[in-house]
Amino acid sequence: MGSVRPRPRRLLFALALRTAGWFLFALAAGVLFCAIGAAQSDQPSEYEVKAAFLFNFTKFVEWPDGSFDGPHAPIVIGIIGDDPFGDSLTRIVAGQQVQGRSVVIRKERFGEDLRRCHVLFISASERQRSAQILAGLRDASVLTVSDIDGFAEAGGSMQFVMQENRVRFLVNLDAATQSKLRVSAKLLALAQVVNHGQAAR
């Protein structure tokens, strides 16, 4: 221990780097060509599509008067829990105007005032707490959206479901109405409508 000894380190390190460099070069070149070739046929991911849906929902929902601070106040999409969208949601809403308003994305935390959102996406990581979150938003004009199983039946406004690798959505009309949200007929026509606890069927 602690003995001083000559170490042919620079030489070996250079050798190692050169070998690694060769490989990286060859592989990166291969990857580049594949990327260009493959880029055309790529499919979007589940959450890129869900992000596009979230943005689209804002076009087909009317919030009651007084939900916005002013005529040009932005529409706020909140995300609670682990954000599954990466940067796709931010990219999709960037520079877009809906009903004369811009759209902003906000990360929310449990325990904070979620009523300032117009749309709230409840991530699957909040599964255990989703009932609590919904209870806290009762009578608030927030469109709650999630892909947690049974979310719409449990009183959420909208729920994403996957069918044959396509994104579908359920609407709980009772929940939306209770939140004083007006959902356009166009959106309803494309959704599967469920009612709270299936009671009103």
């Binding site: 592989l27 499919q43 596009a52 943005f55 996957m162």
Partner: protein, 667 residues
Amino acid sequence: MRRRLAIAALMATTVVSSAYAQQQTAKLSAMSLEDLLNIEVTSVSKTEQKLSQTASAIYVITQEDIQRSGATNIPDLLRMVPGMDVGQINASSWAISARGLNELYSHELLVMVDGRTVYTPTSGGVYWDVVDVPLEDIERIEVIRGPGGSVWGANAVNGVVNIITKTAAETRGAMVVAGGGNLDQGFGTLQYGGSAGQSTNYRVYSKYFNQGQLPSATEANGADGWRFLRGGFRSDTNLSTKNSLSFQGDLYLGREGLFAKSLPSVTMPSLVQSPEAGNLTGGSLQMVWKHTYSARSDTTLQISYDQYRRDHILAERRGTIGIDFAHHLLWGERQNVVWGVGYRYSASESDGSLSYFLVPANLNIQLFSSFVEDEIAVVRNRLYVTPGAKVEHNYYSGFGVMPSIRAVWLPSAHQTVWAAASRALRTPAENDAAGRVTFGGFTAADGMPVLVGIVGNPKLADESFATYELGYRTRLSDRLSVDLAAYYTEGDHQETSEPVAPFFEALPAPAHLVLAQENENLMYGEAHGLEVFATWKVSRRLTLSPGYAFERIHEHLDPSSQDTTSVAAAEGSSPVNSAQLRLHLSLPRGLAWDTYAYFVGRISDPVVPSYTRLDTGLTWQAGERLSFSIFGQNLLKNERLEYVDASQSTAFTLMKRSAYAKIRWVL
């Protein structure tokens, strides 16, 4: 120059891909609801997504991979991981490491079953013959090549293998698995999973196998047949929304044969090789309590007990208690912190034999550890930096610090670039510090018996390794993903054998002279290598998964060293090149055809020629509950040498062609 080109190419790829991502989101935001409903999406699971953003060379073996591989034991499953070195010595012994430094009981690899470490403090290695669970119950096996010391502690130098079993809720119902063939003569699993009350699920299982003998170099029967009976359970209870409790345990009983080498007596000091069979018994019990304080904070307490008895050469018994506590919290807006403390107490007894014993024969050792890791979102969803460190105190070498820093850059949703620098330690095991190995001996001219061997060194220091890694992962399209990892490691204070002054010993009688070598830390070296693998869904039915690994190790001795074997052993214990190719073809009517080819380059110390192993099998899923499969293993060459234990303590046998049929019925 070439390096600059490579970096330029890498950056160009990144730019192309992220430009593409931008273009795609622009397209998506312009789409109508009807269009969105019709668009087909890729199905990447959460775990997959998370794993693809990990800042280490991780590889995951899924339950699907396990079913397709036809492997009947865990070591065979690890062959599919590029960069893993798996060498079977005989029917029940394996040398398994990652990124080199392989040997029987290789001690640079940390292996865990549901978070419980299973290496033995005796050698620091793993008794792979007793690491087993019903393969159908494995959720996934996470394999990390490279150091993981800052979280998992000493011995996680070259890799970490974590076998994660399914929760009891996922294995409800009865399952019967039965099969047999020419080598795996009979095997089967009986399992029942159910629920007790509203919040508890459980399963109980028993598993048996009987494997025949492999041929030895000289005889048709290598005396290495073995059989095991194992029973176990797991229960998972949700006590409340905030508390969950899980218990699991198993017991096993087995008998395995080998050609044992032993010294009959001091006056007849030449090794005698004879077939013998030994009993192995053991079991484990563990409890995990998870408590969630809030979405931002949760804790895990894990208490485990593990006991085994092996009637082989050392005739050892050991019991180990481990307690680990970890706290995970989101701190502020940007930090994801995990910290924890751990304690382990291990008590062992051994009878030993003249050719191998421990001094002292009985020993109780303790291990204390604590770690902290903080993932910092420098730019959220873009750049994360994770510094971390573990401090351990062990019985032999005292305190050791294992720091690491890792960074992940996500240029787009489909790409991950990661880099890491870490220091890992390999602490002395009982074998290094207290082992007495005798190779043989002779009678001197004056009639005095002389024994030749190795004596352990209780003052042995930690081997330390500094590793620099760089990796890139990309999902080029829905059909093709590529994973690349390159590393450079510097090792220091690595173990050597140095001659010590001969000494007299009175016991065992008669008095004799010992010509011994002692373990010292007088070797240092460098290793570099690269691993790459891809998954290519050629069509709806055909998937190809090629993998390749390159590794090279250079070792040097301190000028004061007189060691003659350690350099060659460390440099030549694993192949320079290895490659894998997996082919999965799903056919109509529930049929699937799988082929696995593994190429392993020449191993130079001890010499094993390069070889290719080929496994193939056909599975018929007859409805949801019933499946039949036939598998052929090691089809290319019969009686093939695969790995030789350099210490010669465990005799090698030859791999033979084999086939089996299996039925699996879920009720």
